[in-house]
Symmetry: C2
Amino acid sequence: MKTVKASIIGFGSIGQGVARVLLMKKEYLNKEGIDIKVVAITDSKGAAIDENGLDLEKCLAIKADKGTVAEKEMTGLDVINQIDHDLVIEATPTDVITGGAGLLNMQAAFENGRDVVTSNKGPLTLKFKELNELAEKKGCAFRYEATVGGAMPIINLTKEVMAGNEIESIKGIFNGTCNYILTRMLEEKSSYSEILTEAVDLGIAETDPTYDVEGIDTAGKVVILANAVFGMNKTINDVDRTGITQITYEALEMSAKNGKTIKLIGEVRKDGSLTVSPRLVPIGHPLSVSGTLNVASVQTDLAGEITVTGKGAGSIETASAILSDIISIYKAD
Amino acid sequence: MKTVKASIIGFGSIGQGVARVLLMKKEYLNKEGIDIKVVAITDSKGAAIDENGLDLEKCLAIKADKGTVAEKEMTGLDVINQIDHDLVIEATPTDVITGGAGLLNMQAAFENGRDVVTSNKGPLTLKFKELNELAEKKGCAFRYEATVGGAMPIINLTKEVMAGNEIESIKGIFNGTCNYILTRMLEEKSSYSEILTEAVDLGIAETDPTYDVEGIDTAGKVVILANAVFGMNKTINDVDRTGITQITYEALEMSAKNGKTIKLIGEVRKDGSLTVSPRLVPIGHPLSVSGTLNVASVQTDLAGEITVTGKGAGSIETASAILSDIISIYKAD
């Protein structure tokens, strides 16, 4: 049995999802030869630390009760620099402008020789190459399946399952909010602004939806795929981007009459072009999925087009992607 | 560099696809530390053998020219028993009634300590457990991604990518011929029998289409998933099966008016129930793909529903699945 001392940095929806999943899957992990001991959890108020392993059920209860697990005035960065552990589960909020705390956390983790599994897109859209090189130099694992499409396993699919294939392009729907809005506009014969209001009411869109509807979130995921799958060195500024705010109900209806639907499609091609824009997709095509789903189609030289669909968000779903990364690092061969 | 001596048993569309793919990917395989040397190819007329490695381009040319590569009167079974090699690529035609030559070939391969990668469903629908146990006992690898859905990587997806998830059910469209017929009936406002004639003309359906349209092929794939993914011990007789011959254009049209489509769905659930039957699928659901595509939805406890779509048939596409299996066996860690 390999004991892995871990920290959970960021204890919002995803960090708590990770704690729940580690509780649910303790026995499974043990069978795979992995014993995860969470020695530190941090949130915006501070840290809970126990070198013998925190009681995750208790931490979740305290978080629900008090809004924080903080017992000590330590930041995530303090924990990463000062507490002895093997794995940093980085689940702080995404900031695609500066990289936010996540960028400093990941750099510090690698500098200290710790592996990183993350759901945080920000650092990967800005500094992928630097982070990857630092991880390699320090002999650390760096996994990030959860950054693109939540539970939809696109990165590991291309790396592990489609071995032997050359990938020519990846295109898909990487933002559930946009997909929901476009799906509902047609169903309800409604305008963009009406459905946006509904989506905000349901918590599917943020009060300021710019990040989703202008395609910035999608662009971030396209950048991560470009860097992770194609080995490029792109940032979010390299993406040619158009959002969905100009799409009308009439356009969706006319498309439907012609057997097509309109989706916000992000695409990276091996020639280096990165785009996000609304596109027509034939109904019945694997990319024509509705609601908040995410989907990615991989064009390959041998297997043709392989498409994978899954839930793009959700606490447990995203934590599931983090768990699969943890298993792939520590599983005994 | 690991040299792998291989035989290609069965040199029809898939066997030839394997030879083409091995030629195309020689450099890639070498980079992965694998050198595949094909020491024997057999077809229904006999065998071509060269212990130093056959010239695959020449073999493909001879096959195209003469219809056979046979130089010696040896069967696949003879080659497996008598020629020294590591890997049997079993690509003989599927026979779900008796298992056909494939069953004897696989048994002999394991008895001789040889690994098996196959596209042949027959033996796996009849004797999965026995074959798997024999392979384990003899320390041989046994991989069969190509048996379900051609290039659609459902088996490796569930085994490798969704680690940590418990799988509750797998359902999908596993027969491109049925999917084509149902798609075209609605598009052309035509009857089952009219579109069947079209499909036979195009080579998408066999002259005797029973195996496809009665759901027997789909049932075989459901059995393989039950045994390979869930560890069950099922045969094709355990499947509750209904085909598509009773579906009318009117039923498809009425479904479409209600935002649904009819698909022949195969399903295995973890409680052991195996079914093949026409079912309503909402348009926009990941299973609602058109044409000859195959698709599989995996219901998991953590990640929710993950769906994968791909080409279910085709020489190069199926060979691509065989190649990914070969790489996963011999790739240096």
